[in-house]
């Protein structure tokens, strides 16, 4: 009952935000799918500066990062939002995995501890979002339970979602597989690294925010 009440309040608040055309847009997804690369690309395109550090080691982003007042324009329309880049959501974190990619034991343990806190923060922030871009790696299996849980939760909270299949520049990328896994959502294939298909992505932001 309390949950239903909370959802109704959230919906009312979201509608208020929508009228202002200034929303809180979250980037969610598993680790190492390119959320921060996409956040950087958005910030470069519209603010002329980067947002966060990226690396090949999972859980590079371990704290919520916020960039305020991003204004995107397309066909005479304008959309203003605060961009929230979140740590990757995972069900397991093993410090030994970080050691395998070259971190010392103490660094690996510290990173693992920060990463667990990052996942908790990302989940706690879900309720604050007005719209969410779920970023998935187009070269990986889309049927992982983390993807299904994130998208299912956003659906239960009535938060508008656009799914992005990133890394389409790679040969193994299969956007159709993501579309088959989540047929009720719009899925946009992009390469955040090379800026491919970002116009379609920006167009989808207008739809998700309207």
């Amino acid at each position: 009952m309390a949950n239903i009440f909370k959802r109704i309040i959230n919906k009312i608040l979201r509608n208020l935000f929508k009228r202002k055309k200034h929303i809180k847009l979250g980037l969610y997804g598993p680790p190492n799918v390119g959320k921060t690369t996409l956040a950087n690309k958005i910030c470069e395109d519209w603010l002329g500066e980067e947002m966060g550090k990226v690396s090949n080691i999972p859980h590079e982003t371990r704290e919520i990062q916020i960039k305020e007042q991003i204004n995107i324009k397309s066909n005479g329309r304008e959309l203003s939002f605060n961009l929230v880049d979140t740590p990757g959501i995972a069900t397991k974190i093993d410090y030994e995995d970080f050691m395998k990619v070259g971190l010392k034991e103490s660094e690996a343990k510290k990173r693992a501890k920060e990463a667990t806190k990052g996942v908790i923060d990302a989940i706690k922030w879900l309720d604050d979002m007005d719209a969410v871009v779920v970023v998935l790696d187009a070269t990986k299996d889309p049927y992982s339970q983390v993807n299904i849980t994130i998208i299912g939760n956003l659906q239960a909270r009535d938060i508008p979602v656009v799914i992005v299949g990133n890394k389409i520049d790679l040969k193994k990328a299969q956007i159709k597989r993501i579309q088959a896994a989540f047929p009720q959502y719009e899925v946009i294939g992009i390469s955040a690294k090379y800026g491919n298909n970002l116009n379609d992505f920006y167009e989808s932001l207008f739809k998700v925010a309207s």
């Binding site: 069900t91 397991k92 974190i93 879900l126 299996d141 049927y143």
Partner: protein, 129 residues
């Protein structure tokens, strides 16, 4: 040796969300793979991830999780309504939830037609062949 523990829905149906999640995690932390009849609520699945993260330490590395849902694609509209109504009254008893400790279960591969549970031992054996 792998130990599977089946938890019927009746064992969790009267528990609140926090106690359901705790019950499952308690079993998983004993290095057992839980086969739960039905599925948790969507909010409980995120609670499970959140509490798992809080409990991670040098020994407990987290969980692998998968839900097998019965196909509803070809179910007629009235059938879906009936299912939603039953779920609302009795909880979501359809399907099966598999939760294992990450130290034992390496991966659970899932597509709409099959599910594969890969343990660390089976991966080592594959590597030896």
């Amino acid at each position: 040796m792998l130990t599977l523990q089946f938890i019927p829905y009746t064992e969790i149906e009267n528990l609140g969300s926090a106690r359901r999640v705790k019950k499952i995690l308690d079993v998983v932390k004993q290095d057992k793979i839980v086969l739960l009849e039905g599925r948790l609520k969507k909010e409980e699945e995120t609670d499970l991830i959140e509490i798992t993260m809080e409990e991670i330490n040098n020994k407990f590395k987290g969980i692998e999780l998968a839900v097998i849902d019965p196909q509803t694609k070809n179910v007629p509209f009235m059938g879906k309504i009936k299912r939603s109504f039953i779920n609302m009254l009795l909880g979501d008893r359809q399907g099966l939830t598999i939760i294992g400790p990450a130290s034992i279960v390496k991966d659970i591969k899932k597509d709409p037609h099959k599910i594969e549970l890969l343990t660390k031992e089976s991966i080592k054996k594959k590597g030896k062949k």
